[in-house]
């Protein structure tokens, strides 16, 4: 049975992720394979990355950005998680909420916010008069800084989850044997956390190295080509070269592979099954006299990581002109009025996007549940492979997946069995599910890790069915995580730009495409207003669903 579920999950992952990805990479070997042409490609292209200045630079930049961000974001996320789980202070919950907000907000919106803030003629210059900021941000270190502030949530969540349980007996034994608190931390607590730190670091690295939103938004101001950006140019520069996109994707996948290998290796060396019956849920201690300090620091931090990117969008949406800055005479609601203009396609696009995201979240949740079940409880042979491919869409740029989807879902023979999905909204749903799998699976696995297998086995011994076990035992216990996963998938799918821009069917506009078009035409007011309206509606929907469903949850 479990193997059957394992195979089912493998097949779906293959169709949603592996096959489209392979379809792009195979372009290097057989450029015309999807058009009935079996001619061999030029394999020398693979080595061009060491000759072509643009590619070389892209590789360098990607590695630099990836490593720098991974280092800083892991340290930052780890520190924040440690503080958060050690002490309780007012506004701590706000930090959790912000972390989720950062994870589901697409990077192009965060990056646009930073560009609006820091570019020459941006908000920092016009409103605050900080002329130095443009030079400080638009250089490699500045970009690593922005990336760190956008990607640290992965490290934070990973470490925070690991600190939820503590086994004090180990530390107590050490203290009784005369170890200083520092030694206890260095030799016991820190090593026990290492798997979570590595897992967080790997996620940060993959999400950073595959990120297209930041280099794309920054490109308008500062030239910083990365691998995803050069993939984008290969795909979007006539004459179109899918084989070049394939080469660069190959290197991207290679980098991800290395990152995963390092993670597995590190985990193997530092795996301790330390949770025992004596484990207790760790409860943050009141911060006492430091509460005020922690609160202030927390609010300052949030003002930067959330306030700048999102605040810049909000400000821009009410400015008449960008250059006039923050003055009463320069404020207007006209951009919002334009959104509701009869000729505006935005509301229709928003409707489409919400519908697609909703369907994708539900189906993705169902599938994510299966993946997490296999990863957590089964003995399935290819568990590791499933784990890898459940994360891979985090790192593969949406344009690559999008082109792969066209290759896969636009083959003529599919028409005869009614599966020619390219050109229909369903292609967007499938792509959205693929994009949501990493977040959903991570959350589900985290939640399931806390439900002992013995509960399920006991029910099975009593003759309960598989569905019955899921429905009556597992799902009630992980309800909260299910809800969070579904909502996070929904929120991030609404704004998924890359996939949308290449796959949208004729006359079927979606929200991110509309927003991006406005940004491209430098219609910042309209674009920001659309972003703010869209995010507002998404947040309202999330809150409403939370209120409706969360209340019934039993207190754990």
């Amino acid at each position: 049975m479990k193997d059957r579920l394992g195979w089912f999950v493998s097949i779906i992952l293959f169709v949603l992720v592996l096959y489209p990805l392979a379809a792009v990479i195979i372009q290097v070997l057989l450029p015309g394979v999807f058009f009935g042409n079996w001619q061999l490609g030029d394999l020398k292209l693979l080595l061009e990355i060491f000759n072509r200045p643009l590619w070389q630079k892209s590789l360098e930049n990607s590695v630099l950005l990836g490593l720098g961000t991974t280092l800083l974001a892991t340290v930052l996320g780890g520190m924040l998680a440690t503080i958060r789980s050690s002490w309780s202070f007012p506004t701590a919950k706000l930090l959790d909420a912000s972390v989720w907000l950062l994870i589901i907000t697409p990077s192009f919106i965060l990056a646009q916010g930073w560009v609006l803030f820091a570019a020459g003629g941006g908000i920092a210059v016009n409103v605050f008069g900080w002329h130095w900021i443009t030079g400080a941000i638009f250089q490699p270190a500045g970009l690593i800084f922005i990336m760190t502030l956008s990607k640290f949530p992965f490290a934070y969540l990973s470490v925070h989850a690991a600190m939820e349980w503590k086994v004090d007996q180990l530390s107590q034994a050490a203290r009784l044997s005369g170890a200083s608190p520092l030694t206890v931390w260095r030799t016991i607590q820190a090593p026990l956390l290492m798997p979570a730190v590595f897992a967080g670091a790997a996620l940060v690295f993959m999400d950073t190295i595959g990120d297209f939103g930041l280099p794309a938004s920054i490109a308008a101001v500062y030239r910083f080509p990365t691998l995803p950006y050069s993939i984008y140019s290969a795909i979007y520069t006539s004459p179109i070269r899918f084989d070049m996109a394939g080469v660069l994707s190959f290197y991207l996948v290679l980098l991800i592979g290395i990152a995963m290998f390092v993670q597995f290796y590190a985990m193997r060396r530092s795996r301790f099954d330390f949770l025992s019956a004596r484990a207790e849920r760790s409860i943050p201690k009141p911060a006492g006299k430091y509460a005020a300090l922690l609160t202030t620091l927390n609010l300052l931090f949030l003002a930067v990581v959330i306030g700048i990117p999102i605040g810049a969008n909000v400000l821009m949406s009410v400015f008449k002109t960008q250059s006039a800055g923050l003055k009463l005479s320069n404020l207007t609601l006209n951009h919002y009025r334009d959104l509701f203009d009869s000729s505006s396609l935005l509301l229709k696009g928003l409707g489409h996007s919400l519908m697609i995201a909703g369907v994708a979240a539900l189906l993705g949740l169902l599938f994510g549940l299966c993946v997490a079940y296999v990863l957590t409880y089964s003995q399935f042979k290819f568990k590791r492979t499933i784990e890898v491919f459940s994360i891979v869409t985090l790192a593969v740029p949406g344009v690559v997946l999008g082109i792969g989807y066209i290759f896969v879902w636009n083959q003529k023979w599919l028409d005869s069995i009614g599966l020619l999905l390219y050109g229909t909204p369903w292609i967007l749903v499938l792509a959205a599910i693929a994009g949501a799998i990493p977040v959903i699976t991570r959350l589900m696995v985290g939640a399931m890790a806390k439900v002992p297998h013995s509960l399920l086995t006991a029910a099975q011994l009593q003759g309960d069915t598989f569905i019955g076990r899921l429905r009556l035992i597992l799902i009630p216990l992980i309800r909260g995580a299910l809800l969070s996963a579904g909502l996070a998938a929904f929120g991030s799918s609404v704004f998924d730009l890359a996939v949308n821009s290449i796959l949208f069917p004729p006359s079927f506009l979606t929200l991110p495409v509309t927003i991006n078009k406005a940004f491209e035409d430098l219609d910042f007011g309209y674009a920001s207003a659309a972003t703010v309206l869209g995010s507002g509606i998404v947040i309202l929907i999330i809150l409403a669903v939370e209120l409706l469903l969360r209340r019934k949850e039993a207190t754990a």
């Binding site: 049975m1 059957r4 579920l5 089912f8 779906i12 999807f34 009935g36 072509r52 200045p53 643009l54 630079k57 020459g120 003629g121 490109a219 308008a220 030239r223 080509p225 795909i235 979007y236 520069t237 006539s238 004459p239 179109i240 070269r241 250059s323 000729s343 489409h352 519908m355 189906l363 082109i403 066209i406 290759f407 636009n410 003529k412 028409d415 069995i417 009614g418 599966l419 020619l420 999905l421 390219y422 050109g423 229909t424 909204p425 369903w426 749903v429 499938l430 003759g463 069915t465 598989f466 569905i467 821009s501 290449i502 949208f504 069917p505 004729p506 006359s507 079927f508 491209e520 430098l522």
Partner: protein, 370 residues
């Protein structure tokens, strides 16, 4: 018993998936999205009320005409339907996105007509056998002498207008009229060091026609030497024309080679800029329309090309369109009143520009990271 149940569940899961995906395939007609894609088995034939075609249609159209375009997306469908009775679906994106989709769909195209201001790229589609050949609309008779020169030998496409891929634009507050560059050669003059900007030919659709003319006229080496001298002179390359507009407005640059519509709308927005048409001519970006070889909607597609070469249509594009500054391709149409009367356009030969597109763009992309 237990194993039976397990079998059952696996089957249900798989069956559910198949049902789901099958439903996906058929469901697109009913979801109120109007996305009657070519594959939905839509056999309904559109009956034109006053279709522009002259010969009786031998084949019937199978679905709705789908046009891939990069401009005029908001007005073209109603205009076309009013003129011919045919319905029209558009996929709008920037030139690069459209070309990418066309290329990825090569095995099973979803478009009937492509209409872009990227003549070399469309020429490339013709050369690789993806366009309908040997048919030309009756309205080619309307073409101006200048536009006639753009019709390729095998009649892959028709030109519907041309605009300057770049005119010289300068900021009046920063540069005095007598100091402004008058010709493209002036751009390498040391007194404009770090003042000039342009769009990236590897990204912006009209920027390639701009640079290709220089490469054609000066030969590849000469073109590289010319642009190297500009780069040595501090030329700034921005991804797209709107970015150039922004840089000009923010004072990052004072002089630019700017696409025509962007230049005029900047001037109309009250920015302190002046436009110069160089006497040797501005590189032309020619907008062309072409029909896909295996189109399932040949009647509507042909009607669309006839429609685009109708003076009334081009006048409407100039009066109502978003990219309204262009030189019409048919006679009897008035260009924008404020468009300079001595606007002179020169275009590089499409086949030459198409053959050298990859090499020139790659040279540019590699230069800009150095």
């Amino acid at each position: 018993m237990k194993t039976n149940r397990k079998h059952w569940i696996g089957t249900v899961l798989l069956a559910g998936l198949v049902a789901l995906t099958a439903a996906c395939g058929n469901g697109n007609a009913g979801n109120g999205t109007n996305a009657a894609a070519a594959n939905s088995g839509n056999t309904e034939t559109t009956t034109p009320t006053e279709a522009a075609q002259t010969e009786a249609p031998t084949t019937k159209d199978e679905g709705t005409l789908t046009v891939y375009l990069n401009d005029f997306d908001s007005i073209i469908a109603p205009l076309f339907e009013e003129a011919t009775g045919f319905k029209l679906e558009v996929v709008a994106g920037n030139g690069a996105e459209i070309m990418s989709r066309v290329e990825a769909e090569k095995g099973n195209p979803h478009w009937d007509v492509v209409w872009l201001d990227a003549m070399p790229s469309i020429y490339g589609l013709g050369a690789s056998g993806q366009l309908m050949e040997g048919w030309s609309p009756n309205n080619v008779a309307n073409l101006t002498d200048y536009a006639k020169g753009f019709v390729p030998e095998k009649q892959w496409y028709v030109p519907t207008g041309a605009h300057a891929a770049g005119v010289i634009v300068y900021n009046k507050d920063k540069v005095k009229a007598e100091d402004a560059p008058k010709s493209w050669e002036d751009f390498s003059n040391g007194k404009y060091k770090n003042l000039i900007g342009m769009a990236d030919p590897a990204i912006a659709a009209p920027a390639y026609p701009f640079v290709s003319l220089f490469f054609k006229e000066k030969t590849i080496e000469g073109g590289q030497a010319y642009f190297s001298s500009l780069m040595d002179n501090g030329l700034r390359v921005y991804p797209k024309n709107p970015n150039v507009v922004k840089a000009l407005a923010a004072g990052e640059i004072s002089i630019a080679a700017l696409q025509e519509s962007n230049a005029y709308s900047m001037k109309n927005d009250g920015e302190p800029i002046e436009i110069i048409w160089p006497s040797e001519g501005a590189p032309a970006s020619v907008r062309v329309a072409a029909i896909q070889k295996d189109t399932k909607n040949p009647n509507a597609a042909k009607a669309f090309l006839e429609f685009l070469l109708d003076p009334k249509t081009q006048q409407a594009l100039i009066d109502q369109g978003d990219e309204s500054y262009f030189q019409p391709s048919v006679t009897g149409v008035n260009a924008k009143a404020d468009r300079s009367p001595d606007a002179k356009l020169v275009a590089a030969d499409a086949s030459w520009a198409s053959e050298n597109e990859a090499a020139i763009k790659q040279w540019f992309a590699d230069q800009s990271v150095k």
